[in-house]
């Protein structure tokens, strides 16, 4: 088996200190391979967002290690962390987080532009990324000219542009109807099937079911995991 793309090794995150210390995540171990989609489920306050922020190098653990593509983030400076976020990690949020004054293509190639890639290359890669999420020809439209489902597909295209291979999704279909939500999840699943590593945080079992593994969090601890079976189960009753 190849090296996991994302590793959380005995990771804890404690907010505050002394008597006011609040443990948000305690001793979490988690790996995500390329080609794998892992879902994290749990009620509000269980540590889902903390885990996602640590996995995306937006926060540092109080103890333990986070590795992305075999790079230990604890050894990196804030500037280096920003580089990792830009080049290795893509985020997909419930409210899309697109820049309203930029076109769909400009939103998608923003991480490349920040890395000073020539604009013509940026546009080429953005158009390819948009085509991969079935949004050919919408590159010049602004976010407010797109439907909710289209905006989220732009966000997925942005999350996986360039060499980015880790996509972190936080309730990515929260504002969408079930049909559009399914389209978004199908797309995320496809991108993982073709080599990305995906981590999906949700309280919604319907979404989590697209994942290969579902990790359950309670009070900051990983308490259980559900793994999709590979067998052809008799799912339906045969009429006697």
């Amino acid at each position: 088996m190849s090296q996991p793309y994302l590793v959380l090794d005995d990771v804890s995150r404690i907010h505050g200190s002394g008597d006011l210390a609040v443990p948000a995540l305690i001793g979490a171990n988690l790996t995500v391979q390329r080609g794998e989609l892992v879902a994290v489920m749990g009620p509000s306050g269980s540590g889902k967002s903390t885990l996602l922020n640590l996995a995306g190098a937006l926060d540092r653990p109080s103890s333990g290690r986070v590795l992305i593509d075999a790079v230990d983030l604890s050894a990196l400076s804030a500037r280096q962390l920003a580089g990792i976020r830009r080049r290795k990690v893509g985020f997909v949020f419930q409210d899309f987080n697109l820049v309203p004054s930029l076109t769909a293509a400009e939103n998608v190639f923003l991480p490349l532009e920040l890395d000073a890639l020539p604009l013509s290359d940026c546009r080429l890669q953005a158009d390819q990324a948009l085509a991969e999420v079935d949004l050919d020809g919408v590159g010049d439209r602004f976010p407010d000219e797109l439907s909710g489902g289209e905006r989220q597909r732009v966000a997925i295209a942005r999350a996986l542009i360039g060499e980015r291979s880790l996509v972190l999704a936080d309730e990515p279909t929260g504002a969408l109807d079930t049909h559009t939500g399914d389209l978004v999840l199908r797309l995320l699943r496809d991108r993982c099937d073709t080599g990305a590593a995906g981590l999906l945080v949700t309280h919604d079992a319907r979404l989590a079911a697209w994942a290969d593994r579902v990790v359950f969090l309670r009070d900051g601890r990983v308490v259980d995991t559900a793994v999709a079976s590979d067998s052809d189960l008799p799912l339906f009753q045969v009429t006697p």
Binding site: A205, R206, A211, V214, D224, V227, A228, L235, V238, T239
Partner: protein
């Protein structure tokens, strides 16, 4: 009543042999609930007895009978589309019974009972979701997809109910503890005053 009504609906499209009805039923519901051919013939006999279907001519060379709807059968098939499916009295749910007993049984860790069920439901949901990954290409795929979605929504609803059980339990137990603590404080205040 799902099988008799389904057979009437299929026969409304034209006369069919029993084996044809079996294969049409399975194709049109995405093969979700395979039918026993014996049940098709038993159902056809009952429908014939009730005057809803009749033989469409004499048996063929192999002795097989083709069936068609009578006028009353046509009316029954049309009425089925126009009326809601009757809600049967709630069947005994082992899960609801198990959790009701768990909540009231001393020494049972309800959270763990809930989580075991949740994990199993999620695994089932993952299996169902894997089946729908291939997009629908024709009407038969669409039928299968919609039946699958019915099962997905039902399993999702079980998980939502389990989440609700867990949060309700946590809230209720916390509030019971709180009022017990308050009454202990009140009680000790009274005792102190009496002692004075």
């Amino acid at each position: 009543m799902s099988i008799p009504n389904s057979l009437l609906a299929l026969l409304a499209e034209g006369p069919r042999y029993g084996a044809q009805l079996k294969s049409d039923f399975e194709t049109r519901t995405g093969g979700t609930w395979p039918l026993n051919v014996g049940q098709v013939y038993t159902t056809l006999s009952r429908l014939e007895r009730d005057g809803l279907v009749t033989a469409d001519g004499p048996p063929d060379d192999e002795g097989k009978i083709r069936y068609r709807l009578t006028d009353r059968g046509v009316e029954a098939a049309t009425a089925w589309w126009a009326t809601p499916v009757m809600r049967e009295p709630a069947p005994r749910s082992e899960l609801a019974i198990k959790l009701a007993l768990a909540v009231t049984s001393p020494g049972v860790d309800v959270t763990s009972v809930v989580q075991v069920q949740r994990r199993s439901a999620l695994t089932h949901l993952q299996d169902l979701t894997r089946l729908k990954r291939a997009p629908a290409r024709d009407d038969n795929d669409l039928a299968w997809y919609l039946v699958l979605e019915h099962l997905i929504f039902a399993t999702e609803s079980e998980v939502r109910w389990l989440d609700h059980v867990e949060s309700t339990l946590a809230r209720t137990r916390a509030s019971i503890r709180e009022s017990a603590d308050q009454s202990t404080v009140k009680h000790s205040d009274q005792s102190l005053q009496e002692q004075r």
